[in-house]
């Protein structure tokens, strides 16, 4: 929970007060601004404060720096000057982001420690720093941020977690100025942030999450105390305080002009057809992988800076996926242009990534396009036909040398398959070992007189399943290369049994017993992904058992109420890290052994793709992982 508590003590009345607070709630953060307009005790001052608040209301979703520059442009501010603190306190990452120009005194109070927040010298409207600094600070549960305007005397020594705004204001506010004090309490537990995505394994956090991710608690406390304090004051005499700074700063005026967003018009030369090549292509029915490969080659041939390749390709694919009309790439001598019909959403993305508002994206290149004409021509064909560059080159060679073509085509095919085979080989190693060892054991079993009708039946059944699994692996991989994955209904216990069969040889090598119990249930979803998760959980349990050298090791899988529960007896996950196991890169395995991505990917698959919920807990024997498919995906 993020609490925002504040108190205003006006010099005269609230509508003549130049100190103001603005607070707005966003899905991702709470925006809090504290401002102090120069002067006090005049309706004009109160009016300017309102004008600032109004502007903040309309712009609080922008970057803090640009909000500050926007306020700096207000004409009324130029008359009086303003000191300003702008902040966003995030709900899903434990951070506060802030900018502060002027003598707003801000402190972060954490237990006994009080740290002053950074600020930049200046007065908004008059002189602002040339480079506005945006600060980001990690927050912890129980942290408090205090921000006060200069109507509050030095209050640092008065700060503690229990200090209330009214206590400080009654002691420290000056009698000859407006004063405002804000206390932002950050009471979101670390556990809220440690799992990804934003689901909570902490029951307390989960409860509050169901209500609302982070409710804002506001105490509208400014009315009552402010009246009390006012009573003690001398009768008010309307008096305009002199402006804080007289000189109008040239720089800030320049800044005003520079920060206006200019909308670029398409380059003139695009209208003429001086382009050497025009690619005209759309994403439909094209193999995305081949397309990506061609685009990489394209950028490579043109000598476009390597670091921007992914960025450019991401945008091009995005355009192709969302833009209603085809995309065109025009070649120029020193640059090429990507022209597309934009919609608002697309333009926002492109604007964000390339910092340009335009239907044309111009990208510089260093190649001599005359020299590269042949390759670019081939690429153009490749892009158009959704073929690989090699295929196009082979096609070109066809007329010259039939035999050569054939050989090249073969090698090209082999290369494309190589990648897939590599992956299948990896998946096949386990079942092949299982078949291998069961064949090897056959001889001994025969010698031991174990081979009877029942044995043969079991032997056939077990190996048939393994072979079926291998055959399914190929299908899975073929599906994997397809972009659209289809959800279908399958029996969960059957699916788990097939995995266990595959793992059985490895588990029995280490004398690990694996039991499945509970009623089978059907589920509609992506079977191969759920398989991947269960496989990962079993293999994690196995690793934990081996690491701790557990006697009588066992893994139990229970099915109940559309849940898959995987338990082991390896002693459980230490309390201090249990909430972190789903974080990316988190691993307790030795460097090089664990990537720290296994459970993170599992969590992503279950929570995002399967629309379920993966959670972890300990029981008296060991770790308990629960895949809850009930909530949304069950049938």
């Amino acid at each position: 929970m993020i609490g925002v508590d504040f108190l205003i003590k006006p010099f005269s009345t609230l509508n003549e007060c130049g100190d103001f607070i603005a607070k707005f709630d966003h899905d991702d953060y709470i925006f809090v601004a504290v401002g102090d307009v120069g002067g006090h005790g005049s309706e004009n001052v109160g009016h300017i404060a309102n004008e600032c608040r109004e502007l903040l209301k309309n712009n609080f979703e922008n970057e803090l720096e640009s909000i500050l520059l926007e306020i700096n442009r207000l004409q009324s501010i130029k008359e009086r000057g303003l000191t300003l603190f702008l902040s966003k306190i995030y709900k899903n990452t434990p951070i506060v982001e802030y900018v502060c120009v002027g003598n707003q005194k801000g402190y972060l109070q954490r237990f006994e420690k009080v740290t002053q927040l950074d600020f930049q010298e200046g007065v908004v409207g008059y002189v602002i720093p040339e480079h506005i600094k945006t600060h980001v600070l990690k927050l912890k549960y129980g942290d408090n941020i205090f921000v006060a305007t200069d109507g509050v005397s030095d209050y640092r020594s008065a700060l503690s977690a229990e200090t209330t705004v009214s206590e400080i204001l009654s002691q420290k506010s000056k009698s000859d100025d407006d004063a405002i004090l804000v206390k932002i309490s950050f009471n979101i537990k670390d556990t809220h942030f440690s799992t990804i995505p934003n689901q909570f394994s902490d029951p307390e956090a989960q409860d509050s999450a169901q209500k609302k991710p982070s409710e804002i608690k506001i105490k509208e406390s400014h009315k009552k105390p402010s009246i009390e304090i006012q009573k003690e004051k001398e009768p008010f005499v309307a008096k305009e305080t002199p402006n804080k700074h007289k000189s109008l700063d040239q720089k800030s005026q320049k800044k005003d002009q520079a920060s206006k967003v200019s909308v670029e018009k398409p380059k003139e030369f695009l209208k003429k057809d001086l382009s050497a090549f025009v690619f005209y292509t759309s994403l439909e029915s094209k193999n995305c992988k081949v397309l990506k490969q061609n685009l990489f080659t394209f950028l490579d041939v043109l000598g476009v800076e390597k670091s921007s390749h992914v960025k450019i390709i991401t945008v091009i694919l995005e355009i192709m996926a969302t833009s209603p009309s085809p995309l065109k790439i025009y070649m120029g001598e020193n640059s090429f242009c990507v022209q597309y019909e934009s919609n608002y959403e697309l333009q926002e993305k492109v604007n964000y990534i390339f910092n340009k508002k335009s239907d044309v994206l111009e990208i510089e290149h260093t190649a001599n396009i005359e020299d590269k004409k042949q390759t670019l021509d081939n690429l153009k064909k490749a892009l158009k036909n959704g073929a690989t560059l090699q295929e196009i080159e082979i096609e070109n060679l066809k007329d010259d040398d039939e035999k050569k073509t054939h050989a090249l085509q073969q090698s090209n095919k082999m290369a494309a398959m190589g990648e897939m085979i590599g992956a299948i080989a990896h998946q096949w190693r386990q079942p092949l070992n299982a078949i291998g060892s069961s064949i090897q054991n056959l001889e001994y079993d025969y010698e031991d007189g174990l081979v009877d009708k029942e044995f043969v039946d079991q032997f056939i059944e077990k190996n048939k399943k393994t072979v079926q699994f291998m055959s399914k692996t190929i299908d899975d991989f073929r599906n994997f290369f397809r972009i659209d994955k289809e959800k279908r209904t399958f029996l969960v216990r059957q699916m788990i049994e097939s995995i266990v069969n595959m793992q059985s040889a490895q588990l029995s090598n280490h004398s690990i017993a694996l039991k499945i119990s509970g009623e089978d249930f059907s589920y509609k979803g992506l079977e191969s992904e759920l398989q991947q998760v269960v496989l990962n959980l079993i293999s994690n349990a196995k690793d934990a058992i081996l690491e701790k050298q557990i006697q009588n090791p066992e893994i139990n899988i229970y099915l109940q109420d559309n849940r898959i529960i995987v338990k082991d007896n390896a002693g459980g996950i230490p309390k201090e890290i249990i909430n972190r196991v789903f974080e990316p890169y988190f691993t307790t395995k030795d460097q090089g052994k664990g990537t720290g991505m296994g459970l993170y990917m599992s969590k992503m698959i279950v929570d995002e793709n399967l629309e379920g919920f993966l959670s972890v807990d300990n029981d008296h024997l060991g770790a308990v992982f629960t895949i809850d498919l009930k909530s949304r995906g069950g049938v």
Binding site: E63, T93, K133, H135, L137, K311, Y352, P584, Y585
Partner: protein
């Protein structure tokens, strides 16, 4: 203490190896060591990707209880802070877990971004 100059073309692998040697010499458990290495790698990658030139420092507090990571670059600052600290957002087509991961793995984290570049401090308690 290790200080490194990061450039677009600097050898990430060798640098990380140097850092790993330093981290291995610290008296702490392997989880923290892994996290320190991940933190360093994320920070260096971020500089290379977005600023191309900068400096990275890693040092052990004399008390032996904390590790400080400090980085600064001369890029144009973080362009959209709200989005950059959001999980799964990336401008480069990667997984988008860079900055949120840095925050998560650090015990203390502060960053200052302006058009002159980014200065970043992380503290990891041992």
């Amino acid at each position: 203490m290790i200080t490194m100059h990061i450039e677009k073309k600097s050898d990430y692998g060798t640098q990380l190896f140097e850092i790993k040697k330093f981290i291995d010499s610290i008296n702490t458990n392997k989880v923290v060591k892994n996290e320190l290495l991940t933190l360093s790698s994320e920070i260096i990658t971020n500089i290379q990707k977005y600023a191309s030139k900068g400096e990275f420092k890693i040092s052990l507090d004399p008390s032996g209880k904390k590790v400080f990571l400090h980085a600064s670059d001369h890029g144009n600052g973080v362009s959209n802070i709200s989005l950059s600290f959001k999980d799964h957002f990336s401008t480069s087509g990667s997984l988008g877990i860079g900055l949120p991961t840095i925050v998560r793995l650090s015990d203390d984290f502060s960053m200052q971004s302006s058009q002159e570049g980014v200065v970043l401090h992380c503290v990891k308690e041992l």
